[in-house]
């Protein structure tokens, strides 16, 4: 029985990398949005520019589920290389749209799905002579076919094309024509719509559609970052590139046409972080964007920034393991390597945004926190947030907000004779005052080093001075606990002994999984951790429950280790739920994994069974 569903299904496009499919697929996703129906698209792409398989998955969900769902209801199979796997991945009762120009043997299909053949290549060859046009328009033609098959409002697609090619009438006409070639073919040659349909709704509201990397870059613009140093690495390159784009639009002085920013594409990640540390030492707000391998390379400098107490903002768009290939897949694998980055005793502040909107907030906040705490702050994103368009609340900014530049002693205070010790804890919060270079002709200068200094930044190798400094750094980390974004708790309507802790891009899948679990009578209280060091509410949440599931997208349960280590929790009480195959975590996965554990925990005592 073919699947029947309105505004709730998953379309997966299987394409060849470099064939120009990305913009057509995005056009499809945006058109659904314009019909007032939420979508969650995800790129699954290879480490390659041309030739390897790439997929684009669009989850259509009127109920607003934005996590990956798993499974495919309609496969748009445009890549012969992955045909068998793609066809096998369709849900029973699902649909397959393919290019029927070349006949395929019956063995290549399945009996339990609806097969829709549209002669895409034939249409292209008939209409176009230029090979590049044939390739590009083929993508628009299948979008046209989909518009008829899914009963989409074609006017919305045309409007999007018009916006994209504003002022380029020729291109608009050509794309519109290609769209109708596909649409008309379906309308004339087959039954339509199919069982999957789109219906205008009003479920999008004022939400925006933005990639996390772009939102992070905007947050850096709003947060007052002026220096950006970076080295290209997937999936973070588009963050620095977005910062460049936003700055060119928002940060060029209108009178002088000069830039109120400096962006350097450095020779490697070591230079990137060095430039950030130098700029921050000198009082500018600076950041770098990188991924796991970059974090590894930056370790020595991160330790210096920690001990020399230099504000440093790092955006880590996390990905899978080393080298190339899997690294274009999403994971949450740098938690430990960032939390304890470098040599010596170090601990760093981490922020875990759940989506682009929160990434924007945390990006701007990261600069305030780094200045306030005079220490590195990591914004822990991942590929799933960074490189996918996500529907989220509009970005907001309070115009009365002032940048918190932290404890900076200015010339007047020095002149007035205020005691300045670079590493002197005057307020009991572990945070000392700093001065910018060039502040005063005779007062307030100091020599910045790693650890060999006393409270007045004088060189010393004395043990007690070292220990005194290390203790103060711990006090500072305590202070951080109440400054970083607090966890967000959501309790079940029914009292429960079980809780779940999760963070970052797991959020939408977790929300959905909770509904699935509740539907089957299993209740959980939730805590979304938004920062490290952990606020005291993390410990109390754990204390209030018998068992806590810790859901993560890595193999080694890194957040769980951090909680065990930092909060002194018995590991037995923290049950790891781990997803790490490179695909984004799904609600189905979480609900199944937690459900199985809960069933195991709910074994009825023998005594009760017999009685």
């Amino acid at each position: 029985m073919p699947i029947q569903s309105v505004n709730d299904f998953v379309v997966r496009f299987a394409n060849v990398n470099g064939s120009g499919s990305a913009s057509a697929n995005e056009l499809f996703a945006r058109a659904v949005l314009r019909m007032g129906v939420p979508v969650a698209p995800r790129n699954i792409f290879p480490s390659n520019i041309q030739g390897l398989p790439t997929w684009y998955e669009v989850r259509v969900s009127q109920d607003g589920y934005l996590g990956a769902r798993g499974g495919t209801d309609l496969m748009v199979a445009m890549n012969p290389q992955t045909w068998d796997k793609d066809v096998a991945g369709i849900e029973p009762g699902g649909y397959l749209l393919y290019d029927s120009t070349k006949p395929m043997p019956k063995s290549k299909f399945r009996d339990d799905i609806t097969v829709i053949g549209v002669p895409l290549t034939a249409i292209c060859n008939r209409e176009y002579t230029d090979p590049r046009q044939r390739q590009l328009f083929k993508n628009i033609i299948y979008v046209g076919a989909l518009s008829a098959l899914l009963d989409m409002d074609v006017a919305e697609i045309e409007k999007l094309i018009a916006e994209q090619y504003k002022g380029k009438e020729k291109l608009f006409d050509a794309n519109k024509r290609a769209l109708h070639l596909g649409r008309d073919w379906v309308m004339m040659n087959m039954e339509h719509p199919i069982g999957l349909r789109l219906q205008r709704a009003n479920a999008v509201g004022d939400r925006i559609f933005i990639e996390g990397n772009s939102a992070a870059a905007l947050g850096a613009v709003y947060g007052g970052a002026t220096v950006c140093a970076w080295y290209p690495i997937t999936p973070s390159s588009s963050l620095a590139e977005a910062f460049t784009r936003h700055c060119n639009r928002l940060r060029v002085d209108s009178a002088s046409k000069q830039n109120k920013f400096a962006i350097v594409q450095a020779e490697d990640e070591l230079a990137s972080i060095g430039i950030v540390i130098g700029a921050s030492w000198n009082g500018a707000r600076a950041f770098t964007a990188t991924s796991g391998p970059g974090i590894s390379l930056m370790q020595e400098f991160l330790g210096l920034a920690y001990f020399a107490e230099i504000p440093t903002v790092v955006f880590d768009v996390q990905r899978a393991g080393p080298s190339t290939g899997m690294p274009t897949r999403t994971q949450q694998t740098d938690i430990i390597s960032c939390a304890y980055a470098s040599h010596g005793d170090t601990k760093h502040v981490l922020l875990f945004p759940e989506d682009p909107a929160e990434t924007f907030d945390f990006a701007a906040t990261a600069f305030d926190l780094a200045d306030r705490l005079q220490t590195p702050v990591f914004v822990m994103m991942d590929l799933d947030i960074g490189m996918n368009h996500r529907l989220c609340r509009p970005l907001g900014w309070d115009d009365s907000r002032k940048y918190d530049r932290g404890k900076v002693m200015a010339a007047a205070a020095l002149e007035a004779g205020k005691d300045f010790g670079r590493y002197l804890d005057v307020d009991g919060d572990g945070i000392p005052y700093r001065t910018y270079p060039g502040t005063h002709s005779t007062k307030g200068s100091f020599f910045t080093r790693g650890t060999s200094r006393d409270r007045y930044a004088r060189y010393t190798e004395e043990g007690p001075a070292y220990a005194d400094n290390m203790q103060r750094l711990l006090r500072k980390f305590e202070t951080a606990k109440d400054l970083v974004p607090r966890p967000i708790q959501a309790n079940s309507d029914k009292p429960t002994k079980y809780g779940v802790i999760y963070f970052g891009s797991t959020s939408p899948a977790m929300d959905e999984a909770i509904e699935m679990l509740e539907a089957s009578g299993q209740h959980l209280d939730r805590l979304r951790v938004r920062a490290f060091p952990f606020h005291s509410s993390v410990t109390s949440f754990i204390a209030e429950h018998d068992f806590i599931f810790v859901v993560e997208q890595n193999r080694d349960a890194q957040l769980r280790s951090l909680i065990v280590n930092e909060c002194g929790i018995d590991p037995v009480r923290l049950v790891p739920i781990l997803h790490y195959d490179g695909t984004p975590i799904t609600a189905r996965f979480i609900a199944r994994a937690i459900g199985e554990h809960l069933d195991a925990l709910k074994i009825t005592p023998l005594r009760k069974v017999v009685s």
Partner: protein, 351 residues
């Protein structure tokens, strides 16, 4: 390690510069390097250069990496901010600092281990970018703090104190700086203050990447027979091509010299260098010829010193990036934050 606290009093009649400062105002802590270390002479030359130029000490940022040479910024300009960063990474830290505030003078101090081995990449890229800085390498061909290993500038065939012969080719940082676009390149000798002080002054006044390689013998590990970085060897093989008689600052100049022996080099910031030529054929404006001349003399075992190359119309990284005149670290919300109205427009474009 020296634990003596430096006395602050000084003779009331010590000479003063235009700012009313004496030499003492440009000094730092007492050096903890070995007695007779070439690096201490370079420190003295930096102090002398800054004093003579009447630079406000707090307008200088001193940045170094790790090693004996990188310790020296603590020994001069005590009223300047200093930064002892990580091994081989002074150039990136300095680049960042420079981007944050273009109004200060940036003095990068490094050694041959710091800049020619672990930090060769950062050295190269700072030169390529044209960071406005003085990059001084205190070059002794040896790792001092770790007790006498060869560095990458040690000449092939030179002998270590333990009698081992170096079989690796030497890196000539002057050659690299020239090739990568440094707009001011000089080499001097720590034992020749008369040559070194004017070179440092000229480098400070230069706007762009100024690289100064100073051969600075290590008295503890590299001052023996068989070393090509010993005091004796450098004195015997020093091939000076010119001599900077003085530096005028930005005031008009009047000189009386025999024609042809002195070249007045005007820099685009308005300063003028009076260059007394020791080698009539040497042209300080010809990058390629300089590279050739230096390499040729190196093959003869000679060390070419002097101002080796200067680009009069040099540009720097801020120019390339078209940054505003105001230091970036002085900009606040008003200049940097586009505000909620702009954000509403952005939101609207994302629907």
């Amino acid at each position: 390690m020296t634990y003596v606290i430096k006395p602050k009093f000084h003779h009331p009649e010590l000479p003063k510069n235009k700012l009313g400062y004496t030499h003492r105002d440009y000094e730092g802590k007492i050096s903890t390097l070995c007695a007779g270390c070439g690096h201490d002479s370079i420190t003295a030359s930096i102090i002398e250069a800054c004093f003579e130029l009447s630079i406000e000490p707090h307008r200088v940022a001193k940045i170094s990496g790790i090693g004996c040479s990188s310790k020296t910024p603590d020994y001069f300009l005590g009223n300047s901010h200093g930064f002892n960063s990580v091994h081989g990474r002074m150039p990136s830290v300095l680049t960042g600092a420079n981007l944050a505030n273009r109004g200060l003078i940036y003095l990068g101090v490094s050694g041959d281990g710091d800049s020619a081995s672990i930090g060769l990449g950062q050295f190269a890229h700072a030169m390529r970018r044209g960071v406005n800085m003085v990059y001084i390498v205190e070059n002794n061909g040896v790792y001092g703090l770790t007790k006498g290993q060869f560095s990458a500038t040690a000449d092939r065939g030179s002998k270590s104190k333990r009698g081992i012969t170096n079989t690796d080719s030497a890196i000539d940082m002057v050659g690299i700086a020239l090739q990568l676009g440094a707009s001011f390149v000089a080499r001097s000798f720590s034992g020749d203050k008369k040559q070194l002080v004017p070179i440092i002054k000229a480098a400070i006044e230069h706007r762009g990447a100024a690289f100064v390689d100073v051969i600075s013998p290590c008295v503890a590990f590299n001052n023996h027979a068989g070393s090509t970085k010993s005091f004796d060897y450098v004195r015997e093989h020093n091939e000076a091509v010119n001599f900077l008689d003085f530096m005028t600052g930005r005031a008009p100049i009047h000189v009386d010299y025999a024609p042809g022996t002195v070249e007045m080099v005007e820099q685009h910031d308005g300063t003028t260098l009076a260059l007394r030529k020791l080698n009539a054929e040497y042209d300080v404006h010809d990058r390629l010829a300089a590279m050739n001349f230096i390499a040729h003399h190196a093959s003869l075992g000679q060390i070419v010193t002097g101002l080796l190359y200067v680009e009069q119309d040099a540009s720097d990284l801020h120019g390339h990036l078209n940054t505003v005149e105001a230091p970036l670290n002085a900009l606040g919300e008003k200049e940097l934050c586009p505000g909620s109205a702009a954000l509403s427009k952005i939101n609207a474009s994302l629907r």
